[in-house]
């Protein structure tokens, strides 16, 4: 991995990370440590209905709990954020505790903005527009994949305009992340695999980003090593607390890496496919990742030498191009090992939709940072056809 004399970057990592089995039971102390008295628990409806995790968090918060807002759904909406902020205000909340996957944490980021600034979340669409920190936020992920507990971005859908809105601001990075492996043991096998490969895509994408830098690269490479070793174990035995814990750490490290270095073409396509065809984000990333590696290798094969090595490939004496191909192959094999589907066609994406998907992908902000510049829809179409 080489860096030239023009290397220049900003690295942000402001989240206090607390790790350990049972650490979520310290949530009240963490809320108090932020100088807050009453926290609104934000969680998704499925988690609230199918598990007792949100009610356990409510219980340990005790008198510091302002209530539970459990209306979050996948592809959370601006209207849900605004309603959640109104509920938080009504209950006198001065802190948000999010419990769940990316949708719950992103919704909480939105609520934290509106609770502090007033109005509607739509008023704050953009990048780095906030002038002060949002409402304090403690994030408790129950999946190991999104890394949202440490990132500066929230993706919230405007269901009226049928548009995904992007909110990027250092002021919405959660203050605290509680990584409790006990909370991920109930995650089903398929979701464990898809979210784990989501974390893998964050790590690899941050390395092949135009904005890669040594600190993020270090985090991403170790995340790859951890995922390679522990994702199969977590999939095979969901109760393996060591594997669950290491996957939470890997997800967190990959999240920090991409929050700084950004992501690329894999995410640009996955966002587009998710919005139009409802393909799970992690699964879409998993399917696309090897094909984007092969596409990028045409110009930046050297970026994949350390990736291949972190995936267990012996790189000594091997060309960059062969390393890139090995990385693509090993990523496919890992996904297959976890039982994930390998093609877009298997997810109901019709072949006739590919040209329109390719065109729409060019509008996704993630594409800006892809290591190989992409300005032509035909290039995206080539990747889509390979992944079809």
């Amino acid at each position: 991995m080489t860096y030239d004399a023009s290397l220049s970057f900003i690295y942000m990592n402001t989240t206090r990370v607390v790790f350990g089995p049972g650490c979520a039971r310290d949530v009240k102390e963490e809320v108090r440590a932020l100088g807050c008295a009453r926290a609104l628990v934000v969680t998704d409806s499925v988690l609230a209905k199918s598990t007792d995790i949100p009610s356990r968090i409510e219980k340990v918060l005790g008198d510091a709990c302002a209530g539970i807002y459990s209306d979050v759904v996948p592809d959370s909406g601006v209207h849900l954020v605004d309603a959640g902020a109104a509920f938080a205000r009504e209950r006198g909340a001065d802190c948000i505790v999010s419990v769940g996957g990316g949708s719950a944490i992103d919704t909480a980021k939105g609520i934290a903005i509106v609770l502090k600034e007033g109005g509607s979340l739509r008023d704050y669409e953009g990048f780095q527009v906030l002038k002060r920190p949002a409402t304090p936020h403690v994030a408790i992920p129950t999946t190991a994949g999104t890394g949202s507990e440490v990132t500066y971005v929230a993706v919230i859908k405007d269901h009226e305009a049928h548009q995904k809105l992007l909110f990027g601001d250092y002021n919405i990075i959660p203050n605290t992340a509680l990584l409790d492996p006990e909370l991920t043991v109930g995650l089903p096998r398929g979701l464990t695999a898809a979210t784990g490969m989501d974390a893998m895509s964050h790590a690899v994408e941050s390395i092949h980003s135009q904005q890669n830098e040594p600190i993020a690269d270090g985090l991403a490479l170790h995340a790859i090593r951890l995922i390679r070793e522990f994702l199969p174990r977590a999939v095979d035995d969901g109760k393996d607390l060591v594997a669950r814990g290491q996957m939470l750490i890997a997800s967190n490290m990959a999240g920090t890496a991409f929050s700084n270095a950004q992501v690329g073409l894999v995410h640009a396509i996955a966002h587009t496919i998710g919005a139009r065809h409802g393909v799970h984000h992690g699964l879409a990333n998993s399917i696309l990742l090897p094909h984007v590696v092969r596409f990028n290798a045409g110009e930046i094969a050297g970026a994949y030498r350390p990736v291949a090595e972190a995936l267990g490939f012996q790189v000594a004496g091997v060309s960059d191009e062969a390393c890139a191909e090995a990385a693509a192959r090993l990523l496919s094999e890992l996904a297959a090992r976890t039982g994930l589907p390998q093609t877009l066609s298997s997810q109901g994406v019709p072949e006739s939709a590919l040209p329109e998907l390719a065109e729409a992908t060019l509008a996704d902000a993630s594409i800006i940072y892809n290591g190989r510049a992409v300005l032509d829809a035909d290039e995206v179409l080539g990747v889509l056809k390979a992944a079809f």
Binding site: G126, Q128, L166, Q262, L362, A363, Y369
Partner: protein, 141 residues
């Protein structure tokens, strides 16, 4: 003659540079999303006592109208980009790519980033136009 940046003269020269640019005529053709306002944040030590806004009514590869505006008026535009003087100077020198600057917090965007990304060629052409304006920077003799 070099024009001070930011100033009303510079905005007028930028307007002309845009409309004389074959790159913007081509790259900006898909832009039908309304006014883009650029705001240089106040910096009294350089004589910028109040935030200086530049209102650019861009449409299909043409700048239809431009004027100096306040930060308040700028925020009524569909797209409003804020930045410190030093950041805009980096943009004009092509040392800072605007979209990346937004994502890093060096510039602040109020508006839909996806639309800007889809029109990145227009954004790049605008920067090229800015480099063609003979510019006297306030912090240089």
């Amino acid at each position: 003659m070099a024009m001070k940046f930011p100033s009303d003269e510079w905005v007028a020269a930028f307007h002309n540079a845009i409309n004389e640019s074959p790159e913007y005529k081509e790259g900006g053709k898909p832009w039908t999303f309304g006014v883009t306002a650029l705001v240089v944040n106040a910096q009294p030590d350089l004589g910028i006592n109040e935030a200086y806004g530049m209102w650019l009514d861009l449409h299909e590869g043409v700048c239809r109208e431009s004027h100096h505006c306040t930060a308040e008026e700028a925020q009524t535009a569909p797209f409003c980009i804020f930045g410190d003087y030093a950041r805009w100077k980096q943009v004009i020198h092509k040392e800072l790519e605007p979209v990346k600057g937004m994502m890093q917090g060096k510039l602040k965007l109020k508006g839909n980033l996806q639309i800007i990304v889809r029109n990145v060629k227009a954004a790049q052409a605008l920067v090229t136009c800015a480099t063609r304006v003979p510019t006297q920077f306030l912090d240089e003799p």
